[in-house]
Amino acid sequence: MAKDNTKETDYRKSKIKSIIAWTIAIIFACVQLVLTLTPFFFMIINSFRKQFDMLQQGVFHLPDPWFTENYVTVVTHDFFGYFFRSVIVVSISLVLMLIISSFAAYPLARMKFKLNPFIYAAIVAMMSVPMHVTLIPIFKMTTMIGFNDTLKSLIGPYVAFALPMSVFILTAFMKTIPKEIEESAEIDGCNKYKNFFLMILPLSKSGLSTLAIYNGVGMWNEFAFANTLILSPEKKTLPLALGQFKGEHSLNIPINMAVLTLSVLPMIILFIIFQDKLVKGMMAGAVKG
């Protein structure tokens, strides 16, 4: 009986403890929610104001009236030009990067040759080279071959800097594909090349798609190379568009907020659709630990 009582108070104690813990956790979660959302809220509501209404109405009040002209201004000032240039550069770079990194990962994951561990270690070591160290020589190189101020000058650096991480993840991924699949294909007369295109590549699809999302976000937002290698406004990509608009309308805060809103929107939509893929992509990276 006495034993039962202590058990019950123990149970009640732990119940109360857990309620307190959860209350603190929920409060903490809500604070984080507010901290995260306030800047977004600021950005969106102020993008619907007239230039001078912002200070008169106060930044936290809902706009009155909702002013959509800012978005019209942004769209008619070549916003989609910047947008499509980004789409072109990112998609070409991504496709090349995925092909080349899966090419490289295949022998590293599934062939035995003397230099294999050495080449693998060398590629992985490249992950920690900061791209800023290469800016001046790459600028020099692109100017020398006459590629400066062209979109194609971005593709090389984008692909190259995404490769080490991608080869690393894909090699780990391809190692998990059972050996027997290849062996039976080899008996059926497949050579290494056929093996790759008919067996390994299709089986790596899910690894490739997570890499595409992970690197796609990075390339879409890339600033330093784009800012260094591209100068003409009519060739600039989306991250540079923000600076371009800020330069032209530095005092018109609502227009700048409209550009910002439009530039994040595609990423948010993609994230909501592909969020599981993204988490998986980062999980593949986390396995590294």
Binding site: F42, H132, L163, F223, M283
Partner: protein, 303 residues
């Protein structure tokens, strides 16, 4: 005779494997050589010249730039800022990301909406974040100043980006806003890698959730924790995009980092020789710090 055949067959097979491996590896190795290895070497070469980046004539001045770098107070000042950013990034972003992930892991699917919203900042480009916060933290019509005005009941300005000691810590706060979601997802992935049977076994053995987190999950997350620290460390030492667009290193150089200093020298003042010296110095410092960290904490890398 038969043995001979076997040997040559094995050799032929090894040769065809080597040939296939070469074919598959060449594109990646070529690109890495052109865009990563060669530029790093070239940075060290250019660092020995006086060169404006445009004209064909560059003057070889040997170690002069390096001697200047060692005595360059601005460079060491920016390195100090990088170190401050590094310490605060590791202390803020990683524990906070871990807390959020723990909350999401404990809550399960029903907290998905928290995950989506918490992740949003990471989807914004550094440039967009920089511009958003330039306006959101402005003295005129910014969030903090407006809040202070409401609280004080009279017009109050809080200058977060415009004054010297504030600016660096403001930037660190904005960086935490940007990168905490990244570490959150990283730790979510880490929790996901722990087998659910581990949790079930702990609960059956009478552990509370807190005990499970403290004694089982966190030790299991150890390696991920170290990798996260390494990433944060390297990331803060080469940080550039957001600061460049938010403060350009100002006011009065108080948010100058190695990368912004290098960029300013090279692409605004067109002093590419010395800019390369700064870049090369940055490379040496980052590599050294990363190596020291790895030695100290023995980060296990499964190559």
């Amino acid at each position: 005779m038969k043995k001979d055949n076997n040997v040559s067959l094995a050799r032929a097979k090894a040769r065809s494997t080597a040939r296939a491996a070469t074919v598959f590896l060449i594109p990646a190795l070529l690109l890495i050589a052109i865009f990563i290895v060669y530029p790093v070497i070239d940075t060290f070469v250019i660092s020995e010249y006086k060169w404006n980046g445009i004209s064909a004539d560059r003057i070889f001045i040997g170690m002069d730039n390096w001697r200047a770098l060692i005595h360059d107070a601005m460079f060491w000042e920016s390195f100090k800022h990088n170190l401050i950013v590094m310490v605060f990034s590791i202390l803020l972003q990683i524990p906070l990301g871990m807390l959020l992930a723990t909350f999401l892991d404990a809550g399960g699917k029903k907290f998905n909406i928290f995950k989506i919203i918490w992740f949003l900042p990471y989807l914004m480009s550094s440039v967009a974040i920089a511009f958003l916060f330039v306006y959101a933290l402005a003295t005129n019509g910014g969030i903090i100043s407006s809040l202070a005005t409401i609280i004080q009941g009279k017009r109050t300005t809080v200058d977060l980006l415009g004054t010297a000691p504030n600016a660096l810590y403001t930037v660190i706060g904005v960086m935490a806003w940007q990168f905490t979601p990244f570490y959150m997802v990283y730790f979510i992935a880490g929790y996901g890698n722990i087998d659910t049977s581990v949790y079930e076994a702990a609960i059956i053995d009478g552990a509370t959730r807190w005990q499970y987190i403290k004694h089982i999950a966190i030790p299991l997350l150890g390696p991920i924790f170290k990798t996260a620290c390494t990433m944060s460390l390297i990331g803060s030492l080469k940080y550039f995009d957001m600061i460049w667009n938010m403060t350009q290193g100002g006011p009065a150089g108080s948010t100058e980092l190695m990368a912004t200093y290098m960029y300013k020298l090279s692409f605004q003042q067109f002093n590419m020789g010395y800019g390369s010296t700064v870049a090369a110095g940055m490379f040496i410092l980052i590599t050294a710090i990363a190596l020291i960290f790895n030695k100290l904490f023995k980060v296990k890398e499964d190559y």
